[in-house]
């Protein structure tokens, strides 16, 4: 699993990359009450806004961590946004992407580096 400074995690599963937010990010957001997922079958560029997540505190944008095509979204989260607080790094993934260039993940943090990053 790889991690970004925007508190996203990425996991390679076959030829797709699964993207979510970290447990640390979910804890900071507080109770998640709304999630807006992107359309599938669309090409996005790194740093495009792809997901809107709203907690009891505020609204945040989740940015695409890499270039690629969105091939699947986790529709369950629309009805049960609170899953993000329960299982942020497991079942509560946001999107699956077909990466344009997998080497974009090379520079990202591994778990140990991310833990150090969040202190």
């Amino acid at each position: 699993m790889k991690f970004t400074e925007e508190h996203e995690w990425l996991r390679v599963e076959g030829d797709v990359v699964v993207v979510g937010i970290t447990e640390h990010a979910a804890e900071q957001l507080g109770d998640v009450v709304f999630i807006e997922l992107p359309d599938t079958d669309q090409e996005v560029a790194k740093d495009d806004e792809v997901v809107v997540i709203e907690s009891v505190k505020a609204a945040s944008d989740i940015l695409a961590p890499i270039d690629g095509e969105i091939v699947e979204v986790n529709g369950m989260l629309v009805d049960e946004p609170g899953k993000v607080n329960e299982d942020a790094q497991g079942d509560a993934w946001f999107i699956k992407m077909k990466p344009a260039d997998l080497s974009q993940m090379d520079e990202m943090m591994d778990e140990a580096a991310y833990k150090k990053f969040i202190g």
């Binding site: 109770d31 009450v33 709304f34 807006e36 709203e54 009891v56 609204a59």
Partner: protein, 376 residues
Amino acid sequence: MSDLKRTGLYDLHLELGGKMVPFAGYEMPVQYPLGVMKEHIHTRTSAGLFDVSHMGQVILRPKSGDVADAALALESLVPVSLLALKEGRQRYAMFTNDAGGITDDLMVANRGDHLFVVVNAACKDADIARMQANLSITCEVEVIDDRALLALQGPLAEAALAAIAPAVAAMKFMDVTIVASAYGDLWVSRSGYSGEDGYEISVANDLATALAKALLATDGVEPIGLGARDSLRLEAGLCLYGNDIDETTSPVEGAIEWAIQKARRRGGERPGGFPGATRILNELEHGATRRRVGILPDGRAPMRAGVELFASEDATAPIGNVTSGAFGPTIERPMSMGYVTTEFATTGTTVYAEVRGKRLPATVADMPFRPSTYKR
């Protein structure tokens, strides 16, 4: 946060794991480890204890010894009938300015030989200065700065407080009393700002932490932060000064004209005689051009403060805006309140909120969103 003030319960907040944030010049707990959503639901199903010591407590003591003189004096600043306020009762009121706007909202209690007033934290310095400037001829204006203020709200509030002061069980909504207890004299009102039955309790600062700990040791009482306080009051349809009403909104626009009794209206016994009376009396008869309403988003996206409202998906000029918006944990849906021009203020009217560049439908709705459970 070095310039921020702390309440007498500050150390207890830290001990309880409160996440402290700046609020109205104070360091206050926005949430405890339970989190906003669970704290909200806990208050509705059991009981929640809130520190509201940042609010201002003031006694208006009539120099004549007759509380009617204090009531009449304060009536010069608020459009509410205080002469009719009976001993042992409390009433909601608002300070107005010459333009008919609201400079704060407050609670006024008649405690026999004086009035006890509770005002908002962010406005208290201005409120106190104004009362001192305007009421000092008839009243001693005593600022109470050695007492904490707790709110205990929810269906288990009565049992929890009655275990400490049995007399509070017989109180009804908006009753006030002073009861002796192991924590000194408690100034108790059966009121609050959550839509639940419950109490606000003024207690000497040096006994406040002990009282809070005793209440928290009771079954079903949990500490609740400002986050849940906000979603609770919004579900209850209660306006927050600074968000939903302010100097630019009149009592009629703010839909709180129910607090203006007949005696202060045209044709009443003491019509007018408060700042902004010309505008407010006119609006009481003819209505205002806009009105605070409840707004329920048709979808799941919350519509928060500042979001503009439109008559249609493609209209260019807004018809109003959202002033408070959040997810309602008990009603399990997003909820908002805000202002719309009067023609759109009828319950059931569809309006469109612009959220992240999209026009999302919402429906003007009656408040409270969740029926209140005051003990009448």
